[in-house]
C-alpha cells in the first residue's frame, strides 16, 4: 500500500457573491496516493478547478473553506501564507491552461527560471540556475539556444512545455495540472500527454489532472474522480469507471462523449443546476432517468459498490 500524499476530507468551498454563497464544492473527500495519477473530471461548474485551487491555496479572499487538506501530514487549510509560498514549487506545483497568461512577456525564459529557482534557494548563483533550467528544458525537448528568448517567440505547445519545466525544476512531490491541454491543438495535446505519462514513469510523480476531456483521463490516469455540481459522483480505477460506470451521471457523460467510434448521438436531458440553490438530495436527480423519491429527499452517501470503486447513488447496486 503506497503512501498517501494528499488527503482531502470533507472539502467544502463556497464562493462569496452578491447573490449569495455559490456552493462550488460540497463535502468532497478522496485520497491521492504516491506515484498515482488521479484524473478529476466533470463539466463546466462541477467544482473540479475549485478543488485544484483549494489545494494550492489560490482561492479568493472571503471564500468559505471547510474540511481538511492534508499534504504529508500538514493541514494546508491551516497553513500561514509564508509557509504556503515555500510549499508551492518545492512540494506542490501547478500547470495552468493558458501558459501565456502565466509567463511574463517582458522576461526571458532564463530570467523566469532564475526567479523561480532563487525564490526558493536564494544562495543559487545565476549560472547554477541556468544549468538546472537547461537540464529540465532539454528533457522537455527545448534546446538551450532558446534560453534567452521571450515567451511570445514560442508556440503554444512549447510554452506549455516551458510551464511544465518550470513546475518540475524544484522537484515537487505533487503536480496539479488544471486543463493543461485545453488550449492546444490535438497533435500537440497528444505530445504533452506523452510528456505527462513519461513523468509518471521516470519520476514516479504524483499527478492530479483536472480536465473535462474523458479521452485524456483515460489515457493518462490510474484512477478517476467524476464530479457533478460540486459533489463527487464516482471514484475508482479508470478502467472500471469507464467500462462499468455506476453513477447515472457517469453513464450519461460517457454515453454522450463523441469519439471516432460513436454510433449514436446521445446527451443528458436538462441543464446543470444553479450552485446558489442546488437541488435537494442528490444534485443529479432532476436529470436522472432512474431517479426515485428518495433521490430528492436524501443525499446519497459514497458507497463502495465494487472493490475500489465508489459512487454516490442510492441505487448504485442496480448498475453493478
Amino acid at each position: 500500500m503506497s503512501e498517501t500524499v494528499l488527503r482531502v476530507q470533507g472539502l467544502t468551498v463556497h464562493y462569496h457573491t452578491r447573490r449569495g454563497p455559490v456552493r462550488a464544492v460540497d463535502d468532497v473527500s478522496f485520497d491521492l496516493r504516491e506515484g498515482e495519477t488521479l484524473g478529476v473530471v466533470g463539466e463546466t461548474g462541477c467544482g473540479k478547478s475549485t478543488v485544484g485551487k483549494a489545494i494550492l491555496g489560490l482561492l479568493p479572499p472571503r471564500t468559505l473553506v471547510r474540511g481538511a487538506l492534508t499534504l504529508r501530514g500538514k493541514d494546508l487549510l491551516k497553513l500561514p501564507e509564508a509557509e504556503y509560498r515555500r510549499l508551492r514549487g518545492e512540494e506542490l506545483a501547478l500547470i495552468f491552461q493558458d501558459p501565456m497568461t502565466r509567463l511574463d512577456p517582458l522576461m526571458t525564459i532564463r530570467e523566469h527560471f532564475e526567479e523561480t529557482i532563487r525564490a526558493h534557494d536564494p544562495g543559487a548563483s545565476k549560472d547554477e540556475a541556468a544549468a538546472r533550467a537547461v537540464k529540465v528544458l532539454r528533457s522537455m525537448g527545448i534546446p538551450e539556444s532558446r534560453l534567452d528568448h521571450y515567451p511570445h517567440e514560442f508556440s503554444g505547445g512549447m510554452r506549455q512545455r516551458i510551464m511544465i519545466a518550470m513546475a518540475l525544476v524544484l522537484n515537487p512531490k505533487l503536480l496539479v495540472a488544471d486543463e493543461p491541454t485545453t488550449a492546444l491543438d490535438v497533435i500537440v495535446e497528444a505530445q504533452i500527454l506523452e510528456i505527462l505519462k513519461d513523468l509518471r514513469r521516470a519520476y514516479a510523480m504524483t499527478l492530479l489532472l483536472i480536465t473535462h476531456n474523458l479521452g485524456i483521463v483515460a489515457e493518462v490516469s490510474d484512477r478517476t474522480a467524476v464530479m457533478y455540481a460540486g459533489k463527487l459522483a464516482e471514484l475508482g480505477p479508470v478502467a472500471d469507471v469507464f467500462r462499468r460506470p455506476i453513477h447515472p451521471y457517469t453513464q450519461g457523460l460517457l454515453a454522450s462523449t463523441i469519439h471516432l467510434r460513436t454510433e449514436r448521438l446521445r446527451s443528458i436531458d436538462g441543464v446543470p443546476p444553479s450552485l446558489l440553490d442546488p437541488p435537494s438530495g442528490c444534485r443529479f436527480h432532476p436529470r436522472c432517468p432512474f431517479a426515485k423519491d428518495v433521490c430528492q429527499e436524501e443525499e446519497p452517501p459514497m458507497v463502495e459498490y465494487r472493490p475500489g470503486q465508489f459512487a454516490a447513488c442510492h441505487f448504485g447496486g442496480d448498475f453493478v
Partner: protein
C-alpha cells in the same frame, strides 16, 4: 446549387513580427515591407446543395478564414467564389447585402455572438427587421416560431431573457434560431459546439441535422474535432497551413486515410478507452508559422514518411542541428564543431555560415559527419555540401517535386507518396 470556390492567397494583415516601413525618398522609392500571412493558399472546392462539407484542421490551417471568405466577410486576395451561380468575389457591400440573408454563420462562442444588452427575442428578430419589410408584430411571431423550432421553449419566456440568463447550449440555440429565420441556403458553422459541454453537444448537432432535413440547408462545417466531423459531415476536407491536403467522402477518409497528416490527426485524438495504445508515433513539432510556410509540402518537416523531394530546405537543417543539441552529452562538442545555432543562416534550400578559411575544412567535415548521423531522408535530400569561396560553408537541398492533387481510391490527396502524374 454549385459552389465552386477558387481562392489563392488571402492577405490577412495579422500580427506583424517585423514591420518595417522605410521612409520614401520619392513616391517611387516608397517601400513598405509588411509580412503577409498566407492564411489560405490556393484552395479549390465545391459544396453541393444539401450536403454538409466538413473543413477540418488545427489552428492556423485557414479553415476559419475560408469560412469568412466564403461568406464574403473577408475579401479574397485572388480567386473566385461563386455562390448559387453568382460570382461574389469582388462585389461591393451594397451588392452583397441582398444576398446576405441566403448565407449565414454560426460562431463558436454563442456568448460573444449575442448582444448582452438585447433580449434573446430582440437578437433573434434583428435580422428580420434589417432585411425584410415585416412589422414588429410579424417579426415577433416569426421569432417565437423559430425559438420553438430550436427548442427554446416556452418561447415567450425565453423571448424576454438576456443572454446571461441562458446556458451555453441555450445561447447557441438562440444563435441558430437567428440564423435560420432568414431562410438561408448556406450556413457556415464555425466550431458550433466546441465551447459546449459534452453532454449538450449531441443535442445541438441533432438540431443542426434536423433543420437541414427540414429546410434543405447546406452546411460548411468548420471544426478541429475529427470525431464530430465524422459524425456530422458527408464529405470532409482536411486542411493544413492553408492547403487542402485530403478531401473526399467522410466514410472513405476515415476508413482509410491516405495523407500522413490525416493519419496523425486520427491517431492523436484522445479516446475514452483506458488501455488503448496509439497506433503510430506522433509527428514531432507543431504547426509552423503561416507567414513563412515550409517549402514544398508544408507538412514535410514533421512527416514521419517524408521523401527526399518533399521540399527540404535550409531551415530544416538548422532545426536538425538544434534538435541534436538536446542531447547534453554531445551539445558542447557540436557547439565546438559546428558553431552556435545562430551562426547559421538560411535562404530557401540552403543553410550556410561564414567561417575563417583555415576552419572551413573542419566545418565541412563536421557537417558531413552530422549528415551521416541524420535521418536517412534528410541526408538523401542533400544536393551539395561545399565551402564557397573558402569562407562560407553551404548545405543545399534538392528542389522539391511540385505537388499535384491526386485522385486515389475515391478521394483527392496532395502528397508525393501517391503522386504519379508528372506536374
Amino acid at each position: 446549387m454549385q459552389f465552386p470556390v477558387k481562392m489563392n492567397v488571402v492577405q490577412v494583415l495579422g500580427r506583424a513580427l517585423a514591420r518595417r516601413l522605410l521612409r520614401p525618398v520619392s513616391e517611387e522609392g516608397l517601400e513598405s515591407v509588411r509580412p503577409v500571412v498566407h492564411a489560405v493558399d490556393g484552395i479549390s472546392f465545391r459544396i453541393e446543395k444539401g450536403e454538409i462539407l466538413g473543413l477540418v484542421g488545427e489552428s492556423g490551417c485557414g479553415k476559419t478564414t475560408t469560412g469568412r471568405v466564403v461568406l464574403r466577410l473577408l475579401k479574397p486576395t485572388q480567386g473566385r467564389i461563386v455562390f448559387e451561380g453568382t460570382d461574389i468575389s469582388a462585389l461591393k457591400e451594397s451588392e452583397l447585402r441582398p444576398l446576405r440573408p441566403r448565407m449565414q454563420i454560426i460562431y463558436q462562442d454563442p456568448h460573444a455572438a449575442l448582444n448582452p444588452a438585447m433580449t434573446i427575442g430582440q437578437s433573434i428578430m434583428d435580422p428580420l427587421l434589417i432585411h425584410t419589410e415585416l412589422e414588429d408584430e410579424e417579426a415577433t411571431e416569426a421569432a417565437l416560431r423559430a425559438m420553438a423550432e430550436v427548442g427554446l421553449v416556452p418561447a415567450e419566456e425565453f423571448f424576454t431573457k438576456y443572454p446571461a440568463d441562458l446556458s451555453g447550449g441555450q445561447q447557441q440555440r438562440a444563435v441558430i434560431a437567428r440564423a435560420i429565420l432568414l431562410k438561408p441556403s448556406l450556413i457556415v458553422a464555425d466550431e458550433p459546439v466546441a465551447m459546449l459541454d459534452m453532454s449538450v453537444r449531441a443535442r445541438i448537432l441533432e438540431l443542426l441535422l434536423e433543420l437541414k432535413a427540414r429546410y434543405g440547408l447546406t452546411y460548411l462545417f468548420i471544426t478541429h474535432d475529427l470525431a464530430t466531423a465524422k459524425f456530422v459531415c458527408d464529405r470532409i476536407a482536411i486542411m493544413y497551413l492553408g492547403r487542402i491536403i485530403e478531401v473526399g467522402p467522410t466514410r472513405t477518409i476515415f476508413a482509410d486515410p491516405k495523407h500522413p497528416y490525416t493519419k496523425a490527426l486520427l491517431s492523436a485524438i484522445p479516446v475514452p478507452e483506458p488501455g488503448r495504445e496509439r497506433p503510430q508515433a506522433l509527428p514531432r513539432g507543431e504547426v509552423p508559422d503561416a507567414i513563412l510556410p515550409p517549402m514544398g509540402c508544408r507538412f514535410h518537416p514533421r512527416c514521419p514518411v517524408a521523401l527526399p523531394t518533399c521540399g527540404w530546405e535550409g531551415r530544416d537543417f538548422v532545426d536538425y542541428l538544434e534538435q541534436r543539441r538536446l542531447d547534453s552529452a554531445r551539445a558542447a562538442m557540436e557547439e565546438e564543431a559546428l558553431g552556435p545555432i545562430d551562426a547559421w543562416s538560411t535562404s530557401g534550400r540552403s543553410a550556410f555560415r561564414r567561417v575563417e578559411p583555415e576552419r572551413a575544412e573542419a566545418l565541412l567535415r563536421g557537417v558531413r559527419g552530422v549528415l551521416k548521423d541524420a535521418p536517412a531522408v534528410l541526408a538523401e535530400a542533400v544536393e551539395s555540401v561545399e565551402a564557397v569561396g573558402g569562407k562560407e560553408v553551404v548545405v543545399r537541398f534538392r528542389p522539391p517535386v511540385p505537388l499535384v492533387p491526386t485522385q486515389i481510391e475515391g478521394r483527392e490527396v496532395e502528397c508525393l507518396l501517391y503522386q504519379t502524374a508528372k506536374p
